[in-house]
């Protein structure tokens, strides 16, 4: 894994995918070739320090020198990010954190995304060896809240789950995941998930029940992003203290951590 670098990227494209969800393509020729699936970039939001902190965003799919970021407008920081225009410079630190481990060729990789949690899984899907079979599941409240252009659904054989039944499986993505894994127990399965904590908790349960390696990508409040401030702590399952999401994660094997309280 390479050490993080500082790069001033350039916003190439910014699209409003669905209400509050944005997709930003950033030209970052030095950082993009170093990035591995599951890693993140730490983005400077305001030159005036309001809001104060950088925002960590998972690195989405990469096209040569261009990384895709997917984010939801939740507060002032992401609102300012969504207000950028093509040609704007963007101050990035990355790639940061530990990536998803690569499964062996005989593995069935099960990628489970909740909403914008799909971003690192799109890069994982892109990075997995061709020989690896995969199931790629995406859950969302409704088709109108999609975090991605639905052309991906066809391209990647993305299986959708919607709470309101507006597309794909009517129900949550965890139930879809359980259903699709029935009858697959004989296979060598790895689960990779990113999404809201309640979803990750249930995916962890599935992994425990099946006894399969389960990797979760976490999002928590973060300061420096490089392991200096120790703000982004997550409790170790063995009682030994805390791991840092920025340095030891954001990808953790589910059995190693206690998920943050929601």
């Amino acid at each position: 894994m390479s050490l993080p670098i500082a790069e001033i990227g350039e916003v190439l494209n910014l699209r409003n995918i669905s209400p509050d969800v944005w997709d930003m393509d950033v030209h970052s020729p030095r950082l993009a070739p170093l990035a591995q699936a599951g890693q993140f970039v730490h983005i400077r939001i305001s030159d005036r320090f309001i809001p104060f902190l950088r925002r960590p965003l998972s690195i989405g799919p990469i096209d040569k020198d261009v990384i895709k970021l997917i984010f939801i407008v939740r507060g002032e920081g992401t609102r300012l990010l969504a207000a950028k225009s093509p040609g704007d410079k963007i101050d990035l630190i990355g790639p940061l954190g530990m990536p998803f481990p690569m499964p062996s060729d005989d593995t069935l990789a099960v990628l489970v995304a909740g909403g914008i949690g799909i971003a690192p899984l799109l890069l994982l899907n892109q990075s997995l060896p061709k020989a690896v079979d995969r199931l790629f599941l995406l859950g969302m409240r409704s088709l109108k809240n999609t975090p991605v252009d639905l052309k991906y659904a066809a391209l990647f054989n993305l299986q959708l789950a919607t709470d309101d039944g507006s597309a794909g499986f009517h129900g949550n993505v965890v139930d879809l995941c359980s259903q699709m894994l029935k009858g697959q127990q004989a296979r060598n399965i790895n689960i990779f998930a990113c999404g809201p904590v309640p979803m990750l908790a249930k995916i962890k349960d599935i992994g425990v029940t099946l006894g399969v390696p389960t990797y979760l990508s976490l999002e928590v409040p973060m300061g420096c992003g490089v392991g200096a401030c120790q703000s982004c702590a997550v409790e170790c399952a063995d009682g030994s203290g805390y791991n840092l999401v920025c340095r030891d994660g954001p990808v953790f094997e589910a059995k190693d951590i206690i998920l943050p309280r929601v």
């Binding site: 500082a6 420096c224 200096a228 120790q230 703000s231 702590a233 805390y242």
Partner: protein, 304 residues
């Protein structure tokens, strides 16, 4: 070319810029990202005698108007692990290296300093007598001038190296604490630590920090720390290290005028780790425009 060098307590600093303890880890985390040459010195995250896991998360949140609240809780691996893991990589780019030392009792401070005396790259210590995020030690010791004097004197007895004492902003009267530390033989005072604050999420009816309260830092703190620096500089003739709210060169000039000799960059590094180089440039430009040849000529030049 502006002369940015500062002499303090027998040590030469190539610039007055220092890192605020807790914001720059143990010094190596940023090594591939930034140029360390703008720093006169680095102050590490606080080290205790035994490992401390730190506080329950969440440990950080933003406040309105560009402030920051943290409750890390002095998470650190303990002095022995620190020496084993980090001592070899000190110092970075020939800056002065200060180890922030914390403890629950006098003996703990002394024990940590004694162990660090064997690390040759260490220039000195900053005694953290003001952490707002722990039950014992920290604020509860740092608010008592007799405790400040006792801890400082005990550490002074086991080291000839540079010592600064980081004081609390919570006391209305700076002078008694500053005088107590000065009489006990410190080389500098750090003014100051974070203020105790809290942020509440009305929707969930929960505090935003796992520890409920935390230390308030960032640009909104600057007027408080400017006042503490000025008060300390009036009370004692020691160098003062300013800490609290610095984000730009003009902030630094103001702190120098108020009486600071060292300028700690803290929270600003999270948003802008390149701040040291920028701030040094901004200070130099300010001085060049006004015919100031040496940064040290500005120290304590406030007209009141």
């Amino acid at each position: 070319m502006i002369d940015t060098s500062i002499q303090m307590g027998g040590l030469a600093f190539r610039t007055p810029l220092l890192t605020g303890s807790g914001t720059f880890g143990y010094g190596d985390e940023y090594r591939t990202l930034i140029d360390y040459s703008a720093f006169g010195g680095i102050i590490t995250k606080s080290i205790s005698r035994l490992p401390r896991p730190g506080n329950q998360p969440p440990r950080i949140c933003e406040t309105q108007l560009g402030g920051l609240l943290n409750s890390i809780g002095l998470a650190n691996p303990g002095v022995e692990v620190f020496i084993a893991d980090k001592a070899q990589i000190l110092p970075f780019d020939a800056t002065q290296v200060f180890i922030s030392v914390v403890g629950d009792a006098v003996e703990e401070f002394v024990s940590v300093v004694e162990k660090l005396e064997f690390v040759p790259a260490v220039s000195g210590y900053e005694l953290n007598l003001s952490c707002p995020n722990v039950q014992k030690g920290g604020l509860s010791l740092g608010g008592d001038k007799d405790a400040v004097a006792e801890i400082t004197r005990a550490c002074r007895n086991v080291t000839k190296r540079f010592i600064s004492v980081k004081l609390t902003p919570h006391h209305a009267l700076v002078a008694p604490l500053a005088e107590a530390a000065a009489a006990a033989g410190v080389d500098a005072l750090t003014m100051t630590n974070t203020l105790v604050g809290m942020v509440i999420d009305a929707e969930t009816r929960r505090p935003k920090l796992g520890n409920v309260t935390g230390g308030y830092s960032g640009p909104p703190l600057k007027p408080v720390s400017l006042a503490k620096v000025w008060q300390a500089a009036k009370a004692v003739s020691l160098p003062i290290w300013a800490s609290g709210g610095i984000t730009c060169g003009l902030d630094c000039i103001e702190f120098l005028l108020a009486g600071a000799s060292g300028l700690q960059l803290g929270s600003v590094l999270f948003a802008d780790p390149y701040a040291p180089t920028r701030i040094l440039r901004e200070m130099s430009e300010w001085c060049e425009k006004r015919g100031v040849k040496k940064l040290s000529d500005l120290i304590g030049q406030l007209k009141t």
